[in-house]
Structures are given as C-alpha cells and as structure tokens.
Subunit: 341 residues, 2 copies
DNA sequence: TTGTAGGCGTTATCAT
DNA sequence: ATGATAACGCCTACAA
C-alpha cells in the first residue's frame, strides 16, 4: 500500500519552526530580512520536512517565475543545440531556468507552444527566426512578454533579436564560389515557406548570381527536410539533370553531409567531380570527408547574448535591441577552384 | 507608452458571456455538461477576449497538469534527440505536453531539475539511466510521481524502465570483434562515474575478453567527454602507447567519429591500420568514412514505449513495467577482420 | 524582525 | 444545465 503522498507546504514548515508563513517565505526569498537565528530554525524545518516550494502557487502569487521559454524548430540535429546550451548556462548564472520545446518546424505547433509557455508564466521567450503568424506577435505584445528572436537578423524590425544576416552570409559564400570559376550552381535548401533563414540563404545566392551577371532564375533549387537523407536524395536528383552543376550549395551542414555521402555512393569524387558547401559549421562539418566548406555561425555567442539581453528585458533594464553578429566563411576541401592551377 | 498588459481571466469571460465562472470552466473542460447554446456563447466570448487559461492556476486547482517532464544528459548530440522526438509525439497524441531540460551530465543539476519539474506539477518524469542519488528516488516516491527510466535496462529493479542491456549489447559487439581475430583492444569511454550506460558498455567488453581467455585488466581504457574532440584526443593517446591496439571500441558514435577523424589526420587508414567501432547508430554513423560498425539502438521505439507506458502509469492503468528492447549489431566497414582472407 | 490577511485564477463540490 | 463558493499554496502589502 503506497502511502498517500503527503506533500509538505509552507504552513507545515511554519508550524514546525514555530513562525508565520510570511517568515518562512522570507527565508526563501529575502534572507536578508530575517534574523540569523530564525533563518537557521526555518531552514532546519525545511530540510526535516523535505519541503519544496510549489512552483505554481509561487507563480500565481508573485507573478514571476524566473523561467524563460525557448521554442526551437528541432532537436534532431545539432544546429540549435550548441547555442541553446550556452543560452541555458547563461540563464542559470542569473538564476533563471529554461524550458525548451520543439515545434518540429510546424508553425501551428509553435503558436500553440508559445501560448503554453506563456500560460505557464514564462517571464520571457526565445524564438527562432522572425517569420511567424502576426497573431502570435500580437499575443505576446498584449501579454507583455519580452521576446527575443535568434538565429536571424531583422532589417528595420521592432523586435529584439540576436543573430546574423542569413542572406548576406550566404551571399559572401556564393561570391567566393563564383570567384573560383564556378558558373553552374545548384541549391539544396530546407523548406522555405515559413522559414526566413532558409529563404534568406537562397536569396543570398541569387543576389550573388545577379551581381556576377548570371541568371538567378535558372538556378536549380530543391527544397527538402533538413535531414541527411533529404540532402542525399536531393543531391542525386540534381546529378541526374541534363546540365550538371559543378557545385551544390546546401542550406545547412546536415543537408551537405547527405549530399557528400550520396556523392560517394554515386562514385563521384568531392571536390574533383563536384564541389559541395554547407551552412552553420556544426562539428560535423569538419569531420566530413572531405571537410566541408561552410559558413561559421557563432552559436555559443548567440546563445549567451540572447540570454543576457532577454534577462535585461525581463528585468526592465533594456527594451530590446537588435544585435547583429559576424559570420565567417570557413574554407575547407569540399569546395574546389575551377581555375587552372 | 506600452499599455499595461490586461490579461483576461475566467471572470472576464464569464461576465462577457453572462454566465458563471463555473460554466466557463465547464466549456473548457467538460463540454458535454453544457448546453449547445451557452457553449457557443462562451466560446465566442473567449475568442473575443483572447482568453487563455492560466496554467498555474489550473494546476493548483486541478492537481493535474497533463505535462510530462524529461531530463536528458545533453542536447549537444543526436543521441537522445531521436528518441525524445518520438517521446514527444506520442505524448501529444494522448494530450500531454513535454517539458525538457538538460542536466549536462551533472548529477547535482539533474537532482535539482527533478525537483523543479515536480514543483511545476509534472504528472510524470522521464529520466535517463538508473544510476542516481537515492535521495532523488526517495523524493519521487514520496511525491508519488510516476517515473520511467530509459536508455537502460535494470536487472531486478523496482523501477519502471524501457531500454536495452548496455552491457550485453556491447558484449555481443566485442564477441564479434574477437571472433574476427583481434586480440589487442582498447576502449574510449564516456565518463563512467554516475553513468550506468557507459559503465555497462565497458563491462560488456571486459566480459567478452574474459570469456575468450584474455585478460580484462590489461584493457586500455580512456574516459573522456562524449564529444568528437574527446574521442579524437583519446584516440591519439591510445595510438602513442607501446603496444598499439588493432581495434578501438568507443562508448558511442560521437567518440568514434572523433577517433576516425583523428586517425585520418594521423595518416592511419581505417580499417586497414586500425579498426574502430561505436555505439548508438545515430545517423552520423552511416555517413562516416568509412561507415561505422556500431550497435543499433531502437531510439524511436524506445521513445514511443516510454511515452505510452508513462501515461499508463500516470493514469493508473499500469504500475510500471520493465521493457527490454533488442539491439542489433550493425556491421560496417570500420571494422575489419584480421584473419587471412 | 515578525505576524496578519487578502488575493492570484482555476477547479470542483454542492446546491439550485 | 447552471451558479455559489471553498479550496489550492504562496507572496506581499500592511500592521505591530
């Protein structure tokens, strides 16, 4: 027979310590307002009873939770993991907790999770990218929930954000590619609808093409899931077309990993037969064979800044700025020059 | 001047719809107990006001949250991502939400997060592995929180769990390795302290050694972080020893990826100069060069079963069983036979 | 420094 | 089918 769980409350502690609930509460939240002696007493009682404050009651009474919510598109690959880890660490240093949920790249699910997190009393939110239903922003606004957008940078936006310019970054990489003599490019992108990062990256390539006098509209683009298998299949499809590209630029490293792998299976040598590039510079990129040329994104820095800035917003020290970080092109062996040596 | 956020409550809805709060509550939770007409009215009011139920208030009054908490050691690699994704999906199908946090492989942090999740009113918990402070189990027990342990299987345990026998699995792989003529093995493991999965895997190798008449105590073992870099450095260290192993067995695929990569940098050919094996069979394993021989773990299945079982426990349909899943040895090119062809 | 008491937004019991 | 109303566990003026 399992004893019915008898959970100790503030009252129990107060009674055990012979003080009022207010005093116990103070011992928990404002130690300085309590005498050493009673503090010791109370703490003793807390330990003896195995008391844990009820979060929900706390949230209701205080209207603060010291909790930040984050919604990321996926946990299935390392893209967000690194940054999120740093985000969590930085939050902890300031006494905040992190609640994570994944939207699996589904806008409706994200909207739902925003409401869930807010309903739970999240003091602030971290969202990825800026493209989402207006209703969501409106909701956040009405509720007065400080929100940071990350992994992106938003031109002339009213939103606080920390990230980089996906379009400009990819454009720089494309410029490099073109400067190496490539003229026949192809692109493997994540699904663009509802994903501003993906859209920006493709746009960057097109801009580069235009600037170099090439036709952006004839650029072959395949959209697929951000998965290794997706990248692989898309790559194969690209290779079967009439005019084979000499370089395939991928929307992220995971897609590129799939592409490189499939190339190998098809008997194509990278980069001699075909060059491949990625985006993100996750750890995977450097251990691929050949190592992947990609855009390095400062994941950890982004997470740290997001955390600090968000806390400042929550604690009214800031009203939300926009931070644009620098990226770096990481040249590795998967991209080869077409010029004579 | 930002308008002070005026969040609508049940009362507001009730007033707007001209009914009592009780009725509104019913419309939200037990529609069938309300007439069509009032239901429509109330829903209208809810929409008009943009009302969202306050989760914390709800949790307090109902003592149920339909929320499951999960604490995983890391989000930094894909090991748990796949299973967790399936876990979340299955939970959703039954109307449950998932709250995730990461312990970064720190037992104290995990203990803290268990309390946090319980304080938040989690109806149940998913934990990885079984090795943790007794106090935590006791706490969970006292609070009456259904808990599932995953990624492991526990001999004669009172705990509900779903997973596989890490020791037996690795032993099977080691048996294969030995049957291929290898006698000089070395191991790169994650830190064993506080990590039963890591410990079990190493034990499996030792058992295999013993069974084959080899001395398990002379097995070189390096413990390191579950990271690519950790695996790489450990590998290099192993290669510098007097008696070079002919095969390096790694505690997981991430370590193996690091090892393979470093081998390449050192000018060693895998598997001709050295064989390498992994554990988990994450996607990465098959795109490594050469593809990695590893132990395939049914991640998604594990997540699904964990979710179903945990819900059953929460809803008192089950008192917690132990499910042991099968793993499969995935033979790929990174492991080579030493026998003459 | 400590105690008293009202209120936070729901659910659920008991009437009606 | 609907309405009062008492919890739920804590925080926080306000008082002492």
């Amino acid at each position: 027979m399992p004893q019915s769980p008898n959970i100790p409350t503030l009252d129990d502690v107060a009674r055990a310590a012979g003080v009022s609930t207010a005093t116990v509460s103070r011992c928990l939240n404002e130690k300085e307002k309590v005498s050493q002696k009673t503090l010791a007493h109370v703490m003793q009682a807390i330990n003896d009873l195995g008391y844990t404050p009820n979060f929900n009651a706390r949230a209701m009474a205080a209207k603060r939770t010291h909790t930040i919510g984050a919604i990321i598109p996926t946990m299935e690959n390392a893209i967000f993991a690194k940054g999120l880890q740093a985000f969590q660490e930085t939050l902890r240093e300031s006494g905040y907790n992190l609640l994570v949920s994944s939207s699996v790249y589904q806008p409706e699910l994200e909207a739902e999770q925003v409401r869930a997190l807010v309903a739970r009393g999240a003091d602030g939110l971290l969202l990825i990218g800026f493209e989402r239903d207006h209703a969501t922003y409106e909701f956040l606004e009405r509720r007065g929930i400080p929100t940071m957008l990350a992994w992106t940078s938003i031109p002339e936006s009213v939103h606080a954000s920390v990230g980089f310019d996906n379009c400009a970054a990819m454009r720089r990489l494309a410029d490099r590619v073109l400067s190496m003599g490539h003229t026949k490019l192809a692109v493997i992108s994540g699904f663009i609808k509802g994903n501003d990062r993906a859209a920006g990256r493709v746009r960057g390539i097109k801009e580069s093409l235009s600037a170099h006098g090439l036709d952006p509209d004839s650029l072959p683009i395949i959209e697929t899931h951000y998965e290794i298998e997706g990248g692989a299949d898309a790559f194969e499809e690209l290779m079967q077309t009439e005019h084979r590209p000499t370089v395939v630029m991928c929307g992220n490293d995971v897609l590129a990993a799939g592409a490189i792998n499939r190339a190998k299976q098809l008997g194509l040598h990278v980069p001699d037969d075909i060059s491949i590039t990625g985006f993100d510079d996750i750890e995977l990129a450097s251990i691929l064979h050949p190592p992947l040329t990609t855009v390095h994104v400062p994941h950890r820095q982004m997470g740290q800044i997001a955390a600090k800035e968000l806390i400042d917003m929550v604690e009214k020290r800031s009203s939300g700025v926009m931070r644009k970080l620098d990226v770096r092109i990481e040249m590795r062996a998967s991209l080869k020059s077409l010029e004579a040596e």
